[in-house]
């Protein structure tokens, strides 16, 4: 199993994400935003959290136009798996790989705490390690996590089972309490909570671990 983790100027969860992939059995290649090619034989690409390009213009907007993101987009369009966490989710929305937008938190406050979530679907490589309806606790740390989309998009996401996670106690004003969204082919996941910060008991919880181990199992059996 091969994973790549992309680092942008201002990424700060890239190493944590690499460690989480490695703990689940992946060999991890680190990729720089100016790279114009991806390593061969990748099974999944991770876009990490942080503040790429200082959140200038809009969170994720500059990163989404970085040279490597053209390759990430092409990889996803060929059916590759992509996981975007926090700033990585913002980047996926800016590339158009996922629908909707993330706005400033309704409270205007930076929110940094463990939050309870419900796994809405087990029918994706990223959520197969959880049962649908499982309640888990994963940390969030963001200022712009308020997920919004037009009503048709929200209805489609709910109807097609593309909502991966919902907040049980909405920390940011997201429409429909949405914390994570899947692409139509269910191989691209964007989420605001940080599963890579919940893979070791020393983190205070291991509820993030099944996302990575479940992904490994799904890819092995695919």
């Amino acid at each position: 199993m091969r994973a790549a983790v992309v680092t942008f100027p201002g990424s700060n969860c890239d190493r944590d994400l690499a460690v989480a992939f490695e703990a689940a059995g992946f060999e991890v290649a680190r990729v720089w935003h100016k790279d114009t090619t991806l390593p061969d034989g990748l099974d999944v690409i991770g876009l990490p959290g942080g503040f790429s390009f200082g959140d200038y213009l809009r969170c994720g907007a500059i990163a989404a136009n970085a040279p490597i993101c053209r390759e990430v987009k092409a990889f996803a369009e060929r059916g590759g798996h992509v996981l975007g966490i926090c700033n990585g989710f913002q980047i996926l929305l800016e590339t158009g790989l996922l629908p909707g937008a993330l706005m400033r938190n309704a409270s205007l406050h930076f929110v940094c705490k463990p939050v309870p979530l419900r796994v809405e679907t087990a029918s994706s490589p990223f959520t197969a390690g959880y049962g649908a309806g499982t309640e888990i606790t994963i940390p969030v740390a963001h200022h712009d996590g308020n997920y919004q989309a037009d009503s048709e998009t929200l209805a489609r996401l709910a109807g097609e089972g593309q909502v991966a996670f919902r907040y049980l106690d909405n920390p940011n004003g997201s429409a429909g309490d949405i914390a994570g969204v899947l692409s139509e082919n269910r191989r691209v996941l964007g989420m605001m909570p940080h599963p890579e910060r919940a893979i070791d008991p020393l983190h205070g919880g291991i509820d993030g671990r099944p996302l990575f181990t479940g992904l490994t199992e799904a890819l092995v059996s695919a």
């Binding site: 136009n65 937008a101 409270s107 004003g173």
Partner: protein, 79 residues
């Protein structure tokens, strides 16, 4: 030519920052402020000398980068 791009949240999209500014204005004693919307202004100096070509180029810039048309609208002035 100079282009001025004004990017605003679309009508109907809740603007938490505008709401906070409105509330702060009320706290300062400014009465009668019914609504506040906050956006951004981007100024560009362009080599282009033809206004129509400049507007076409800036429109493409807005669609590709300067605005997120999922939630934002933009207005372009060329001078």
């Amino acid at each position: 030519m100079k282009a001025t791009v004004t990017v605003m949240l679309k009508t109907g999209v809740l603007d938490p920052q505008g709401e906070a500014v409105k509330s702060a204005l009320g706290a300062l004693g400014f009465a009668g402020v019914d609504a506040v919307r906050q956006g951004k202004v981007i100024e560009l100096d362009l080599e282009e000398t033809d206004a129509a070509a400049a507007e076409a180029a800036v429109t493409e810039m807005c669609d590709k980068l300067l605005a997120n048309t999922v939630i934002e609208s933009y207005r372009i002035e060329i001078a």
